[in-house]
Symmetry: C2
């Protein structure tokens, strides 16, 4: 029985929710049940039975009634070991890199600060900047190959003095690895922080971790998601003690749950298995690139990640045909003007890729 | 080899990190290894072997290479069932209530909006308001019994027009349950949202969930942490579709990892076991209150939660003596002026409580 004098919910929302959030449309993840899932940059390989059995033994020892270690000390030690992170650098952990991106944006927010990135790139930079109320500027990549427009970026840096720059290396959704000299140039010219997002580092054999000691304004963002642990949601940020100390202040004290801490640590003990899976993915990426490039009507972009971007005459039609064949990839049409009719396929198992290629061949030669 | 022309890290931090964050001191969680842990409002009971075995069987089926269900649909169904959440209400899940508090603050932030709470209460309201750049005002509770100062609150509401009010019910760290009529009055007078934080609902037998349909501006915040699942980090916010739809826009799409989703759902299937543990805690709370009240030199406050607040002549001395006896409780001295020499003990197992009481008796009768 609502009191008659109460304002309507719609009026309350209009009055009190930030207008930018009111205007936002929720991020939608399409249903994938029963489909071959090549839409989300997941490693397609499950764990071997022996690894699973060992994991479950460790899980069975966990007491979930207690709060997790707020520092995740054991997991951090393992991350340091496996990714050769020098002792003079510190780590900050998040629920996926998403949480760390939000921490970074909150840390530099206020005071009319600006965050800069390139477009198109990982959409969460812009989205989270929007709801943390920090002005976001995206410098367009060059056409037609999505290369860095270094002059435009350096001009933007001079004019806007960004507090924070995000650079995905390799870039998502374009898949390319920007030349490292250009990244160095950006880091040197940036007045504020530069975060190199190495979510796809496992597939690229390139990293700026070793440069953190060289530049006072450099941080590197990583995630375990693309190396086979997407379900655990673990991201990590690497930087010098002074930076991480500031950022750690606005991390929720128990943000990484106990099951993720223990499971990620365990999985890193078996990193050789995950690395072998990554190698398979890289080999399959080469095969996919080669076959896709031969198909008529496609523009295929090179990739240093675990996905391939390509352009078709009519992306919606291709999506429909693939879906009818039981395959889900990502339609980027509409997400950014330069991605008109662009699709992104995640590298799957050889069987999955075969099915995808077979279907693409049908679509390209018969129907479109 | 740092380039000589680079600014120092300290200058970069001073220039680019928000001054409020620079001024903050990181939230510190004291080490508890080897101690009887009565500091963190944890349920002290671990899972019986049969429950653990069933859980592990389910865990062993999980493929962590895939992203978790972004909607956590199965877990939401179970939460609805077990907590009798009506079908016309929606749920928003977070990594602990902390993440949901941040979502709420980000949603109403900007435009000079103000958030209101009482003091002392859950510290995260103020802390997160600080780093999300929304002005926080805390209305002091009445002395000496930490009751609601309804006139001061209603005056603050009229003057400040808060976009959001947090009320912990029961309150932490004071433990008391405010009279429901006063909460109703606050909800009716508030121009914006009111969030009733029911983190300790399991111990209080009181809730505002059934009032959500009555008031257009009411949301209820809950967590599984205090009912035995602190390690999983699962909070949930209950509200009407319109509100949850707005707030869901600024939730990270895959915020709840797969292990927490599956384990929380499983634990709720065994809710009778957790409820029996809660009953033991409530019975022990009564015993602790009774014995503590008899000790000389203590002021003991009544509690509707799983902890008890009490005041001693010298809190630091009591902490030291308890620690020497292997017991960790929480010293609130210094956290707020009205909490001078206040300590907070979480209700443990009968054995733990006995040890704590024995030690307190020694401290109160012999030493202080």
């Amino acid at each position: 029985m609502p009191t008659p004098l109460q304002p309507a919910v719609s009026d309350l929302i209009a009055n009190w929710i930030n207008p930018d959030i009111q205007a936002m449309i929720a991020y939608h993840v399409p249903a994938a049940t029963g489909l071959i899932k090549l839409d989300a940059m997941e490693n397609p390989y499950i764990w071997p039975a022996s690894m699973r059995a060992e994991w479950v033994k460790i899980i069975s020892q966990i007491d979930v009634n207690r709060y997790p270690d707020p520092e995740a000390a054991a997991l951090k030690i393992k991350l340091r070991q496996e990714f050769a992170i020098p002792n003079n650098l510190e780590l900050l952990l998040g629920n996926g890199s998403d949480e760390l991106i939000q921490i970074l944006l909150l840390a530099v927010g206020g005071n009319d600060h600006i965050v800069l990135s390139i477009e198109p790139s990982f959409v969460m930079y812009r989205l989270i900047a929007n709801w943390t109320r920090i002005k976001y500027v995206g410098v367009p990549l060059k056409q037609p190959d999505f290369t860095l427009d270094i002059n435009a970026i350096l001009t933007a840096i001079k004019q806007l003095k960004p507090a924070l720059i995000f650079l995905a290396y390799p870039n998502n959704p374009t898949g390319n690895l920007f030349p490292s000299e250009l990244i160095h140039q950006i880091i040197r010219e940036a007045p504020g922080l530069v975060v190199i997002d190495e979510a796809y580092a496992a597939f690229a054999n390139a990293s700026f971790i070793d440069e953190i000691a060289t530049y006072n304004n450099l941080l590197v963002l990583r995630t375990l998601s693309k190396m086979g642990l997407a379900g655990l949601r673990l991201g990590y940020l690497i930087g010098t003690k002074d930076w991480i100390e500031q950022l750690a202040k606005i991390r929720m004290p128990y943000n990484i749950n106990i099951l993720t801490q223990v499971s990620a640590e365990f999985a890193l003990h078996c990193k050789d298995i995950l690395d072998a899976q990554t190698k398979l993915i890289v080999a399959e990426r080469g095969r996919l690139l080669q076959y896709l490039s031969r198909l008529p009507q496609l523009t295929v972009y090179t990739s240093a990640a675990n996905f391939i971007l390509f352009r078709v005459p009519r992306s919606e039609l291709v999506m429909e045909n693939l879906k009818a064949a039981g395959i889900l990839i990502k339609n980027l049409h509409g997400s950014h003007p330069v991605l008109d009719n662009c699709l992104r396929v995640t590298v799957g198992t050889p069987e999955e890729n075969y099915k995808f290629l077979t279907e693409m061949q049908k679509i390209c030669t018969n129907r479109s």
